[in-house]
Subunit: 339 residues, 2 copies
């Protein structure tokens, strides 16, 4: 049904790449559980399975792609070190993977990233370089540092090894759903640059070909939704703001967009308030800590933006790196609403 | 080394009972993950494995024992229904298990139990009867209701089937530790009435005979610690108070105490502030929601009450049913301290 024309594309990762990544990650990444709550099932009138990637090493799926990519560097490249850009979760993934592999890492992070993400990245031994999210060009900063040091420039979701690594989350999800007797009608996945969902879409096209895969984005950052409709990559309004800090990129990644154009059923958009109520529901019913951007797919289901009645649906809760103050503010705002 | 003299005791559950309970629970209880955090390992100078029972159905381990016990009732008894006493987590476990098995349930709960526990218990279809934790005799209330309705009286941790069911958490923990190459020096487990730790101690004595098993209790409710030292069951000061609502029982259970006297290495005590800092560490490093009573074993490790340097230690985070207001107050109090 869904098809990816590999012949037209350069170095698009395949299902075999995802399987190889899974083998490389074994014993390093956490096989995160697929959770289920009778209360949430009752609320949506269907069956909801939640892939708890917040329990992944570094608190988000990003470790998967970072470790898969860095572990493929040769010894000479490892010595030169790596320079990466990230709003925080990829930063921690790269820093943790680099630490395990003995690779020096510099991470270029926005100055307004959650303090917990900056502190955690530093705790994995990485050097931090801060920039202004709305004014500076982070790629230019990273390129300058990489040139100065002769280091390898991390390409995040433009790196097929990163995309294949993220896809292992989808591979696990498919196997776990199968093991609990669930035939998935749909899988909803948070989408920023698109690395996670594109990797997962490759795995799901092979393992659950009948499941519709949807990207979920925050309001004001629906670049993937609009780009899919237009058939080309569009940019977000630079004035847009959202609490979903992990998903605030100006435009879809080129490699993910190629994959997503071929494999996604569509994209959905949720408000910050809907993301917050999903965080509160995860706190209450699932006992997991989910950050705003990590909660958007769950939000699409709980808000009814995606109608689950009579369906079996999986979502990925992709990260849990949120400051206590933000978490509590969101919980208090959401507690007045029914969750 | 540690031995349990079954001949002297009546109906003490055995390792075989725990294995049978595990078979009964398969497909009903969640096989909760054993988590690990490099940051927490570095902090304690050892290896720490965390059994995340907060991810269990109903948000606490209690579903294990309740389902194991209720599933053994015959059809006639099932029709008559069940009456149980609980501060909240056992309530939810009994209510959820009863709902699955089609058994009417009345739960006698303290009026000051967290609102989330009362609401969740009700959501599983149980009838709720409230009492005053410090004035009323909950057993008398339950006995009256059971007599009036001809219902079965739940015996919580005095029921060998409940203890064997809780022991499946220890059985899983032992298998999971083995699978990740960990030879456990010690296992620390929260202790209220003692049902969880006594069941787990039976499993661990068989699966990890070299691991020392410690109960952890909140200050003012160290009845098991003092009772183990005295060789008989002692009571707590009725004036004592703690935020660890799940562990506030007047005295150790008779059956658990028999088992614990034979199998435990000892008991440790933590303050409310230490439990709170453990909740904050679980939020930050593990991305799980842990309630105060569920965090005491983690608190014993992180506070240094149990010295983990050079050791491999497992703890159970036994429950996560905490109101948002309490959770946020604890997080804010703990955030000023290093976690």
């Amino acid at each position: 049904m869904r098809q990816l024309d590999s012949a037209q594309l350069t170095r698009v990762p395949t299902f075999a790449d995802v399987l190889e990544a899974a083998a490389r990650l074994r014993g390093h990444a956490v096989l995160t559980p697929l959770l289920e709550s009778p209360a949430l099932n009752a609320k949506i009138g269907g069956r909801l399975l939640i892939k708890a990637e917040v329990l992944q090493r570094t608190g988000a799926f990003k470790f998967r792609g970072a470790y898969n990519s860095l572990s493929r560097l040769d010894l000479k490249a490892r010595k030169r070190g790596i320079v990466a850009c990230s709003s925080g979760n990829h930063a921690q993934g790269v820093a943790a993977a680099a630490q395990i592999l003995g690779i020096p890492a510099v991470i270029v992070m926005p100055a307004d990233a959650p303090a917990i993400k900056i502190a955690n990245t530093r705790s994995y031994g990485a050097e931090i370089e801060l920039y202004d999210r709305y004014r500076d060009n982070r790629e230019a900063i990273a390129e300058r540092i990489a040139a100065e040091r002769g280091a390898v420039l991390d390409r995040t979701f433009e790196d097929p090894d990163v995309v294949a690594g993220q896809g292992t989350a989808g591979l696990e999800l498919a196997d776990q759903a199968h093991a609990c007797g669930a035939a998935l009608d749909a899988v909803l996945i948070p989408c920023g640059g698109g690395g996670l969902i594109s990797g997962c879409a490759i795995a799901l096209a092979e393992k659950c070909p009948d499941a519709a895969v949807y990207a979920v984005e925050p309001e004001g950052f629906d670049d993937t939704r609009r780009s899919l409709a237009a058939g080309k990559r569009l940019r977000n309004d630079p004035e847009a703001r959202s609490i979903c800090d992990a998903l605030l990129l100006p435009t879809p990644g080129a490699l993910p967009f190629k994959i997503n154009s071929a494999l996604l059923a569509g994209a959905l958009v949720v408000s910050d308030a809907e993301a917050g109520r999903a965080m509160a529901a995860a706190f209450r019913h699932l006992k997991i800590v989910v950050e705003p951007g990590g909660a958007v797919a769950l939000a699409a289901v709980l808000s009814g933006k995606y109608d689950c009645r009579g369906k079996t649906v999986a979502v990925i809760c992709s990260g849990g790196n949120v400051d206590p103050d933000t978490f509590c503010r969101v919980l208090q705002q959401a507690s007045s609403k029914e969750i």
